[in-house]
């Protein structure tokens, strides 16, 4: 039997497994600990945290759609200080690997968050969620604006001094995701996370108005998997040396492998955990089995294989 090297790296961070939670889909980890030991997965990516505590959007905050769901949480959270005081110690106690997701309303807020986290021990990487409205620029989402995206990452880079790998999380709601990817990598991102949710809406046929309190919401789940695979494929094609944390609709080992073949070095599991609290465990073991069955001796060999395999097509 082949011994499979299942480990992966994002920037200079090493992980024993490439299967992570997705930000906002595991809260800060505690809630899942009843279902599996948090140290058995690659890492816990925590819910995007802002500088101040935040109540989030009005209910209803979700709508189920065909093979997907819309959410409109609005980054509810306790604020960075409480997070550092309460959530990080818990995760460390569980021996979980930690990737902290940060979100801001201004370029400065991102930098403040990064500075506060720089000195916290035990954080493997920062995921920078730039799919937030930029209050300084007409609420335009950072991730939809090349220049704003670059400036956020540049600010975070300066704040961390390069000590912690920076993963820039991109939105698919752009004309050319590879241009944004290139921009944030130039600005100092060590890795990329894609995709965030796709902007969507559901009209409630009873009230005959938008169902969600926040009107629009983010579409996630199997419905968006083809969009995520495409985005990862395109970005890996353009930037083959930049590690990608792939996500969007992954719910079984086959989906995870598809994402890895497209170019992801790791995968985040979001919505699948809602339908199945042990999804991370089953995806992890199915992915291992599939890699072995396909004859790979390491995860690394499989990363981006769909690109390399293109010329060798026989018919």
């Amino acid at each position: 039997m082949t011994v499979l090297d299942f480990s992966t790296t994002l920037g200079n961070a090493w992980f024993a497994s490439p299967v992570f939670t997705a930000s906002g889909c595991a809260s800060s980890g505690r809630e899942l600990a009843q279902f599996f030991p948090l140290h058995e997965i690659g890492a816990v990516v925590t819910k995007s945290i802002m500088n101040k505590a935040r109540a989030g959007r009005a209910a209803p905050r979700m709508a189920e759609t065909a093979s997907g769901m819309l959410n409109s949480i609005g980054l509810q959270g306790p604020g960075i200080d409480s997070f550092i005081a309460n959530d990080i110690p818990y995760l460390l106690e569980q021996k979980a690997r930690i990737i902290v997701s940060i979100a801001g309303e201004s370029i400065e807020e991102y930098a403040v968050l990064a500075r506060k986290l720089r000195s916290v021990a035990g954080i493997s990487a920062l995921e920078v969620n730039i799919s937030c409205p930029n209050v300084e620029n007409r609420g335009l989402v950072f991730a939809c604006d090349l220049d704003a995206s670059r400036r956020v990452i540049d600010g975070v880079r300066r704040a961390t001094g390069g000590e912690i790998p920076i993963i820039a999380k991109l939105s698919p709601d752009v004309t050319d995701v590879t241009a944004i990817a290139q921009g944030v990598v130039d600005a100092g991102a060590d890795a990329l996370a894609l995709i965030n949710t796709v902007l969507g809406m559901v009209i409630n046929l009873d009230t005959m108005r938008p169902h969600l309190g926040g009107k629009t919401g983010g579409l996630s789940g199997p419905a968006i998997k083809p969009i995520a695979i495409r985005a990862v494929f395109q970005v890996h094609e353009k930037l083959p040396h930049v590690p990608i944390l792939g996500m969007g609709g992954i719910s079984n080992g086959g989906d995870a492998l598809e994402m890895i073949l497209a170019g992801a070095s790791g995968v985040s599991i979001g919505t699948a955990s809602f339908g199945n609290p042990t999804a991370l465990m089953s995806i992890q073991s199915e992915l291992k089995e599939l890699l072995v069955a396909k004859g790979f001796s390491s995860l690394r060999e499989a990363v981006g294989f769909a690109h390399r395999n293109q010329e060798s097509e026989s018919q």
Binding site: A55, G56, A59, P60, R61, M62, E64, T271
Partner: protein, 279 residues
């Protein structure tokens, strides 16, 4: 407290051992083995619907109506399901022997008074389901238990024969007068609080009913423990979709997850008027 989130919750494959139509509802009996020992009145179960090829990716939540620890099947739980939309209709169409992927028990439980006091149980529609199991527990504690059930029409009243044994009185209200008294279940509450010297109201039903009861108990000493029903994506506290604005003792309002800090909440603390608004 935090370390106890989802304590006891287990994901299992559980077999349906009974599916019976009761009025407009289905009474499902599901074999959950020893887990029945840790289920408390107020807890709910989250069920996968639609099978392997389903487009419905989220579980559906159902209040546990009752558990039985020594039935012929080992431990079982009973659910009362309204065939409302695609997921619940699918569930109601499952036959005995069908295996469900469930996560159980979830959520907190109704608080039980430490001294025998007079309590009123108020159920709307299938909201009566968990109240009968609760009545048994309260009864065993020596409480005087009176019950009010309401619905739009007779077929939506769930009031099983055996359930009535644990209650002192049971009055039924329908909006079309097709069963019990014509009117709303909330109509007699204010009078009953006075007459029976009610210390605690336990309620389960539509949000509007819970809000109305909170208005009645406002400013009184009556404790209002209500089981809320927000739409839930995960049921285990990881998605933040199921929140309600709740005030703490100091009046600070936060958006609490009704799946783990509920479904049972103190009605006096829920800001009913701000449900569905940005806080």
């Amino acid at each position: 407290m935090m370390a106890e989130i989802n304590r006891n919750a287990t994901q299992i494959n559980a077999t349906i051992v009974g599916n019976k139509r009761v009025g407009q509802y289905h009474q499902l009996i599901i074999n959950i083995g020893e887990i029945s020992n840790v289920c408390k009145p107020g807890n709910f179960v989250a069920i996968n619907v639609g099978g392997e090829t389903s487009k419905m990716i989220l579980r559906r939540a159902f209040a546990i109506s009752r558990v039985s620890n020594n039935s012929t099947f080992g431990g079982t739980m009973e659910l009362i399901v309204a065939p409302f939309g695609q997921g619940s209709r699918w569930l109601c169409s499952q036959s005995e022997g069908a295996v469900l992927d469930i996560v159980v028990p979830l959520g907190n439980a109704f608080g039980i008074p430490t001294t025998p006091v007079a309590v009123l149980l108020v159920g709307g529609g299938y909201g009566s389901a968990p109240l009968f199991g609760l009545a048994e527990v309260l009864n065993a504690r020596g409480c005087r238990v009176d019950m009010l059930l309401g619905a739009s029409t007779a077929g939506k009243i769930y009031a099983p024969m055996e359930g009535k044994r644990s209650v002192n009185s049971l009055r039924i209200f329908t909006e079309d007068g097709s069963m019990g008294q014509l009117g709303r279940v909330t109509d007699p509450i204010a009078t009953l609080i006075e007459d029976l010297n009610i210390a605690v109201i336990y309620s389960c039903g539509p949000m509007a009913m819970l809000a109305a009861i909170s208005e009645i108990t406002q400013g009184t000493d009556v404790v209002h423990q209500c089981a809320v029903e927000e739409s839930m994506a995960c049921g285990i506290g990881i998605c933040m979709t199921c929140v309600l604005p709740v005030a703490d003792e100091l009046g600070a309002v936060s958006m609490l997850r009704s799946c783990i800090e509920g479904p049972v909440m103190d009605g006096a603390n829920v800001l009913w008027k701000r449900v569905g608004k940005v806080i």
